[in-house]
């Protein structure tokens, strides 16, 4: 291959092979099959979820969560799928992942606690609600839920403290006045209970029946 023509031809052929291999052939540089499947998963997860086909949406959503563990929205969709499938233990785990991944962990509240409740994990439910109540932005709803969970755990003093904390956050929250009133009534602090009920009725005059209902439920315990 010493002649100019042979060298020219040889170089041109090899250059053509370079071009075909590096730029024209899709064999090397196209996204691999795994990436393409993840993209399909993304679309399947969203569309199946929106179509209420939760069992079918589960597998692609789990793959998305495995691929993008730091994206809370996939964990959130997974949690909602477990909720619809009535698998509370797994739902709670998914909500925990939302709390870990989201810049606003409070997004998972109070669903995480409710999932624990459905899974009969009262201890975890209480812990979750305590965490929710400590997260910004402060929300008296969580104190209500925490107080109610504490009542179910028969920790009445702690429950009363939760209701009091809730009222510090929002003195115009009628349910908190009612719940605190019932606790005060239960503790024999009748004048304080009366004040609480009066505040409740002042804030929610159309809910008079609830006071009676609570008192009826509380009375036999006395």
């Amino acid at each position: 291959m010493q002649s100019a023509g042979a060298r020219l031809t040889g170089a041109a052929v090899v250059l053509a092979i370079y071009y075909w291999t590096l730029l024209a052939s899709p064999a090397i540089a196209l996204p691999d099959a795994a990436e393409a499947r993840l993209q399909q998963d993304l679309q399947a997860s969203v569309s199946l979820f929106n179509a209420n086909r939760f069992a079918e949406a589960l597998a692609p959503t789990e793959r998305l969560v495995a691929r993008w563990p730091d994206q809370a929205r996939h964990h959130e969709r997974l949690a909602l799928i477990f909720q619809k499938l009535e698998r509370p233990a797994e739902e709670a785990r998914a909500w925990e992942a939302v709390m870990a991944a989201s810049p606003t962990p409070v997004d998972a509240c109070p669903m995480v606690a409710q999932a624990y409740q459905r899974a009969n994990r009262a201890d975890q439910e209480l812990l979750a609600l305590e965490r929710c109540a400590a997260l910004p932005p402060v929300n008296p709803d969580f104190e209500v839920l925490l107080g109610q969970a504490l009542l179910r755990a028969d920790r009445k003093t702690d429950a009363r403290r939760a209701f009091e904390r809730g009222l510090e956050l929002d003195p115009a929250y009628p349910d908190l006045h009612l719940l605190l009133g019932v606790r005060q009534f239960d503790d024999g602090q009748l004048s304080q209970a009366r004040e609480s009920f009066e505040r409740f009725l002042a804030l929610a005059p159309d809910r008079r029946g609830e006071v009676v209902e609570w008192l009826v439920r509380t009375e036999p315990k006395r």
Binding site: M1, A4, R7, L8, V14, L22, P103
Partner: protein, 800 residues
């Protein structure tokens, strides 16, 4: 005398290259409006201002060693001198760079300046024709030189990575090595082609030399037409032809000594390429020293282009120059006694390709390259998808950066019929659009941020729109679209702009005192009225700082007599703009650590947060805080090192598209409306929001305009629609899809597509593959919006 002559030649080439660059930049409206007019590039501004004097001085420095009687200049020197003098005289006569405005004249000047390289180069040729020997095959020497070049640049680039990261993985080493290896082999094949072609001529050595210059010219031409010009919106045949001609002129100018003198009498290729390196590189110690020089040059380029806008262009030019200089050194030092069997070396080249393909399959996609050269290689090795939106890529440039020579009449943009007396409730309005501020540098959007306590406290009182986006990825169009309330024709600018400035008309109708920092954009889009009381008077735009502006606003509030009209204060502080940070040395302004953040930006955000806190405290002390509308946002985000990207010039990535948007509205006003901070919001939504808050029911002038952030009680809002966004300075368009949870990008400059998933967290977005469904949905949104805008302005794009 020889040294003086060479210095004069180098000065002349540099001078005309700079002139061509300055004229080229001037020819583009957006560069002229956004960078040259406000003098954001001081060295270039100085060069332009004193161009005629510099031209005369450079001309004298070039001519003196040639025109003296002892040097007996030949005819081409006189021809060049006369050409130079005529060009300079034309400059003195009114066509100097300082007098140029965007358009064809500036482009012609750029072409003339580039063409001046040719007579200068011709004048550099010696009178006597070089003696030429017999051409011989040099396949072995070429192969070894190209391989040596690949090794040199791999070591230099690898050192850059190790210095940055402290270590390098095997995969990282492969990503660094593969580019130089492939480029080296391609260079070897091209040189073999040139030698083969040269063999057909009667004087093969001369033909080889000229062929090498043409190849270099083609390489420069490719770089200019495919990398440089598209980034400033020059494409099509103009870019191809102009780039190639300029490339050949540059190649001739820098290799003329090699071409004309033929140092290696029997090797034209080595004569030309060897002239790129000094003679001392021909010996081993000198070659080692040359390698060290190239390493320093490479590090310097990396450092200089680290933080600038358009940084990828500078970085790539640096890579090209270092590779060529390395090849020049290698050609000087490699001397092979034998010629070698070409078939063997061509076989080696094929082996390298096979090894590349095999290793690439093992490494697989998705591994990120860590040096500018490796990233560029990865980009070049990404094939243009055959099923890409070719028609869209062809269409978008015609709708982008519409030149001032293409006259387009203003259209009337009315959000509401403004009649009757001003509103009963007219709160003071303070709008702070911090240029380039990213949402993830503010604690309301990113819990990891600890340096914005004042904005954090302000956000707790305000509406924080978690999914806010800019309409345009840079200031040039973002600001006008904000005042208008929707996307506009991609042109800087339609004048008069007043019929389209809906916000300005609202403020005038409501009799607001307008305290506005007048920058180069507001000068064009904001009509002068008696109510306009500019802030930051006599302060150059590049020196707008939030702290200074807020001090002025506070002073004016203190001096405001009772019964004064309400105030609309607006500023676009430049504290963290990439050009400001680059000019200020790209370092933090305090001694604090900002782990996980780009310290030059984070430290400046901390500084402006302090001033903002003081301003809010002052408003509270005056009893104005509760009664004011206060907006903190930005005109676009910024790339701060993501995959090596910096700035926002002509790209559209999630970190550029997403912006902070924090709005405080007086409590009573806020309670009258329904707000959904999780709904996608855009900077163009501010104007319709202000219309609604001031009692004028906003009706979108066109379906693609913004929408009020405040909804009426009981109003059923349609689901968030898919919306188009775009870069301000290039044909890169995006579509925000599915409630702005996905971003599809059609980059018509590089003819590629990108897609991102946009999560709710601090991370702006995660790259995802482009699927046919995404391409269809995104392309439809972009195409429909671009065409609707053209229809609104009765704009008929010209073919390019």
């Amino acid at each position: 005398m020889t040294a003086v002559r060479r210095a004069g030649y180098a000065i002349a080439v540099t001078f005309w290259l700079l002139t061509a660059l300055a004229a080229l930049l001037t020819s583009q409206d957006f560069i002229y409006e956004q960078f040259l007019k406000p003098e954001l590039l001081p060295p270039l501004a100085w060069f332009v201002r004193y161009w005629a004097a510099v031209a005369t001085a450079a001309g004298l420095l070039w001519f003196m060693p040639r025109g003296l009687p002892a040097s007996r200049p030949h005819a081409s020197t006189w021809f060049t001198t006369i050409s130079w003098a005529a060009t300079v005289l034309a400059g003195w006569g009114g066509y100097s760079l300082a007098a140029l405005t965007p358009g064809g004249t500036a482009l012609t000047c750029a072409a003339i300046a580039a063409a001046m390289l040719v007579p200068i180069a011709i004048a550099e040729q010696p009178d006597a024709r070089a003696r030429v020997g017999e051409a011989r095959a040099r396949t072995a020497a070429d192969f070894v030189a190209c391989l040596l070049t690949a090794v040199m640049v791999t070591i230099i680039d690898g050192a850059t990575v190790v210095m940055g990261n402290g270590s390098m993985s095997m995969t990282g080493a492969w990503l660094v090595a593969r580019g130089p290896l492939l480029v080296g082999m391609v260079a070897f094949l091209v040189l073999t082609l040139v030698r083969g072609l040269g063999g057909w001529f009667s004087r093969p050595v001369v033909a080889e030399a000229r062929g090498t210059v043409i190849m270099l010219g083609a390489l420069f031409g490719w770089f200019i037409s495919r990398v440089v010009l598209p980034s400033i919106s020059i494409d099509g045949w103009q870019a191809t032809v102009g780039g190639l001609l300029a490339g050949v002129a540059v190649a001739l100018a820098i290799t003329i000594r090699g071409v004309s003198r033929l140092e290696n009498r029997d090797d034209g290729v080595a004569s030309v390429l060897g002239s790129l390196a000094p003679r001392l590189a021909g010996r081993l110690p000198g070659f080692a020293a040359w390698c060290a020089v190239l390493a320093v040059l490479s590090f310097a380029v990396n450092d200089l282009t680290r933080a600038g806008d358009w940084n990828s262009i500078g970085a790539r030019l640096g890579i090209l120059v270092v590779w060529l200089l390395a090849l020049g050194g290698a050609k000087r030092v490699v001397r092979m006694p034998g010629e070698g069997e070409p078939a063997v070396f061509l076989g080696f080249a094929l082996l390298v390709l096979a090894a590349y393909a095999g290793i690439e399959r093992m490494v697989g996609p998705g591994v990120q390259a860590q040096s500018p050269a490796a990233r560029w290689t990865a980009e070049l090795l990404t094939p243009v998808s055959a099923d890409g939106p070719t028609a869209l890529f062809d269409q978008l440039p015609r709708h982008t950066n519409v030149p001032s020579s293409h006259a387009v009449a203003a259209v009337q943009v009315d959000w509401a019929v403004l009649e009757g007396p001003p509103a009963a409730e007219r709160p003071d309005i303070f709008v702070f659009v911090v240029d380039s501020l990213r949402r993830d540098y503010l604690s309301p959007y990113n819990p990891a941020v600890t340096f914005t306590p004042a904005i954090d406290a302000f956000a707790r009182d305000s509406l924080v729109f978690s999914r806010a986006f800019t309409q345009y990825g840079a200031t040039g169009l973002s600001v006008p679209s904000m005042w208008m309330g929707g996307p506009l024709l991609h042109k800087q600018y339609i004048v008069p702009f007043a019929p389209m400035n809906a916000l300005a008309r609202l403020l005038t109708h409501e009799r607001y005192a307008q305290w506005v920092s007048m920058d180069n954009i507001l000068d064009v889009i904001l009509p002068a009225t008696p109510a306009l009381e500019p802030l930051d008077r006599q302060v150059p735009v590049r020196d707008f700082r939030l702290c200074r502006t807020l001090d002025e606003v506070r002073a004016r509030l203190g001096d405001r007599p009772g019964g004064s009209p309400p105030v609309f204060a607006y500023s676009l502080p430049q504290d963290i703009h990439v050009s400001v940070i680059t000019r200020e040395g790209a370092g933090p302004v305090d001694g604090e650590r900002y782990d996980g953040f780009y310290a030059p930006v984070a430290s400046r955000v901390r500084r402006l947060d302090g001033c903002f806190g003081a301003f809010i405290a002052d408003l509270k002390a005056r009893g104005l805080y509760e009664k004011s509308i206060i907006v903190v946002t930005s005109d676009h985000g910024d790339s701060l090192g993501e995959e090596g990207r910096m700035g926002h010039a002509y790209t559209l990535y999630p970190e550029i598209a997403r912006v902070p948007l924090i709005v405080r509205v007086p409590a009573a006003m806020r309670d009258r409306y329904v707000w959904d901070p999780q709904r996608p919001a855009y900077t163009t939504d501010l104007t319709p929001t202000l219309f609604r808050l001031l009692g004028h029911e906003p009706v979108p002038p066109r379906p693609f305009f913004g929408e009020s952030l405040a909804a009426l009680p009981g109003e059923t809002r349609p689901p968030p629609r898919n919306r188009m966004i775009a870069a301000s300075y290039g044909s890169v368009y995006g579509a925000l899809l599915d409630g702005a949870t996905r971003l599809y990008v059609a980059d018509a400059i590089q003819r590629r597509e990108l897609a991102f998933e946009l999560g709710p967290g601090a991370v702006a977005g995660t790259a995802i593959p482009v699927t046919p469904a995404l391409r269809r949905a995104g392309g439809d949104v972009i195409r429909a919006t671009v065409e609707a805008i053209a229809e609104q302005y009765r704009f008929h794009p010209k073919p390019r």
